[in-house]
Amino acid sequence: MLSVTNLDVAVNGGMILNELNLEVQAGEVHAIMGPNGSGKSTFANVLAGHPGYEVTAGSVIYEGQDLLQMDPEERARRGVFLAFQYPVEIPGVSNVYLLKAAVNEIRKHRGESELDAVKFLKLVREKLKLVDMKEEFLHRAINEGFSGGEKKRNEIFQMAMLEPKLAILDETDSGLDIDALKVVAQGVNELRDSSRSIVMVTHYQRLLDYIVPDYVHVLAGGRVVKSGGKELALELEEHGYGWIEGQTAELLETRA
């Protein structure tokens, strides 16, 4: 599904990701953990095609194709979805307007016809229920005046509507109370099947109680410093990121 090899990324001339490697097969859930500033959002944004980041080396292959060559919209149409850490507010554009445009762009890309109003509404209602949101919410401007939790829920709602093949969740769990966290987890678990993959960026082990990952990777200083199974998250929880940073220092020393 996704194959990231020796990826180097710079922003404004500063290196943020260094030789990052990641292999994600269809049906897998990967958790990426790491301290603040370790490059998690950078990685997520690069996968989505954010024009502000410069890939200076390495490759990203998605479904056999060079992902880095594609515009953000093409990635989205081919099934890549990023749930943003900080979703932007867009006054004047309603949620439903964007959803309709997005659903139809994706359908068009697949050679399908536009969804008619009745079918679209049916789909919308079904997914709203999944994330426990009211219908009136559809007509509000995108994220405008939403609480932090509502913004995150909206990301999951959009994800549920668009049914991506590769979903990247950037700290979707941060700032959520336990009920909202369960809703988000349910949205993600609903999507989970053998043909889809999920890359979950999170700071806390808590989310992983509800969405159990197949693999956990620890990012520090822009590279994956440790990978393992779900038990790695528990170890992290127990020892804190200091433990990893200590290990990284050792690792770098032995290399040098």
Binding site: D71, E73, A76
Partner: protein, 446 residues
């Protein structure tokens, strides 16, 4: 010297007025002759504005003054039904008057079934039949020192629309005044003069639309005066959508009595050079005015909005929100002046002007100007000039929306709150289409 040059620019029009004066509608009526004559003297005196004037600093009229426009003062039997059909707003049910280069075309107008107490008719006809009826109102809302174009309009007063809404009449159906320019050949000058009288307790909607019949160069120099008696309310729309080779200088001058309310919306979507002057006098307690504006510049168009709201008395409310979207090499000017006189305590005033620049070559000069002589007032104003939010563009693209489409969506969204205030659904639909048609020509990828 510039002053001399501007006088020279005016001289042709002064001469044309002298030749035409004796044949203008109701010529020989002493007060009217005197009023036209006075305006002509002012025109000769102040000339056409140049950039040396503070109020014209950013708007060079050279493109207008280098052509000698030919005033259209009487009917030239223009009656292109097909053109009118094309310019009509679908679904808009209105009482419609049509003017060709400023002159009323009765065959194309539909002013039947007006309720009692409402008069909607040609200014020329009223001048001829009942000049005395206009004596006190005509010219009563003009600025004290009009600029040359306004003086020119007053010196020629010949035709336009007269609208009177009788006391306590609630008129639901909008009155639509359709001004079609460039009807009869090149370099024609239309000089419509409109008067809207809203008697006490009445309520009505007046829509002025300015469109071009052909792509020929033309100049429209219009003055609309509005008088709102106590507790009257008026929704006023002015849409300028003339061709890129046209020039448009428009005045909207308003007197408001106690507890009256004006909602005026100005939308400029087309025209080579457009200058709008708005002056609203709040003359008695409790008067309220809400001015909204939207201007869309593309190509090399130049759009200048000069507005002035004067609070003369206490408890007045003024709201003013203008937004501009500028593409290509277009240029806009916004000057929003608010005066709060010393007696005008408890004034509540709010003003904003937000501009969206879609191209690096587009430019805007915006200037709010508050003059406050009272101490117990609430006045707020804000001005912004910016580009589309890159984060928002990326967000939409990350959902599968193409870049051009994303930019268009965000640009429309920028204009959304202005359009949202328009109550007439047919009119709203029309203006939304004007905006989105214009935006479909936008294909920037920064």
């Amino acid at each position: 010297m510039n002053i001399a040059a501007s006088n020279a620019d005016a001289a042709d029009y002064v001469a044309a007025q002298q030749i035409a004066a004796g044949a203008l509608p109701a010529a020989g009526t002493p007060w009217l002759d005197a009023s036209r004559d006075k305006a002509k003297v002012i025109l000769a005196d102040v000339g056409l504005p140049t950039t040396r004037l503070e109020d014209w600093k950013y708007t060079n009229t050279r493109s207008i003054t280098r052509t000698k426009f030919d005033p259209v003062l009487r009917s030239e039997s223009w009656s292109e039904t097909a053109v009118i059909e094309q310019l009509k707003v679908p679904e808009l049910k209105s009482h419609r008057l049509v003017f060709a280069d400023g002159i009323f075309v009765s065959e194309l107008s539909s002013d039947a079934d007006l309720p009692r107490g409402v008069r909607v008719m040609s200014m020329a006809q009223l001048l001829q039949s009942e000049p005395e009826y206009l004596k006190s109102a005509l010219g009563s809302a003009l600025p004290e020192s009009p600029h040359g174009f306004t003086a020119m309009n007053s010196s020629f007063i010949s035709d336009g629309a007269f609208v009177e809404i009788g006391a306590e009449v609630m008129l639901d159906k909008p009155i639509e005044l359709l001004f079609v320019s460039a009807c009869s050949g090149k370099d024609r000058l239309g000089l419509p003069r409109n008067l809207v009288l809203c008697r006490s307790g009445s309520s009505a909607t007046v829509v002025e639309r300015y469109l071009s019949a052909t792509k020929s160069r033309s100049l429209t120099n219009v003055v609309t005066e509005v008088v709102l008696d106590d507790s009257a309310s008026l929704n006023h729309y002015r849409v300028v959508d003339e061709s890129a080779d046209s020039f448009h200088v428009g005045g909207l001058f308003v007197q408001q009595d106690q507890s009256s309310r004006l909602d005026a919306c100005s939308v400029v979507v087309g025209g080579g050079l457009v200058r709008n002057d708005v002056l609203v006098n709040l003359n008695a307690p409790g008067a309220a005015v809400d001015l909204t504006g939207l201007y869309l510049g593309r190509g090399r168009s130049h759009i200048d909005n000069h507005t002035h709201v004067v609070h003369h008395t206490p408890d007045g409310t003024s709201r003013e929100h203008y937004k501009g979207i500028l593409d290509d090499r277009s240029r806009a000017v916004f000057h929003g002046r608010i005066t709060v006189e010393s007696g005008a305590q408890q004034t509540d005033s709010e003003q904003s002007n937000h501009n969206l620049l879609l191209s690096r070559d587009a430019e805007v000069d915006t200037k709010p100007q508050l003059e406050i002589y009272a101490d117990d007032v609430k006045c707020a104003h804000g001005v912004t000039v910016g580009q589309l939010d890159d984060k928002a563009v990326f967000y939409l693209r990350a959902r599968g929306v193409g870049e051009d489409e994303a930019r268009k969506m965000l640009t429309l969204a920028f204009a959304a709150d202005v359009l949202a205030k328009i109550e007439q659904p047919a009119l709203k639909g029309y203006l939304e289409r004007c905006v989105s048609d214009l935006l479909s020509s936008i294909t920037h990828t920064s």
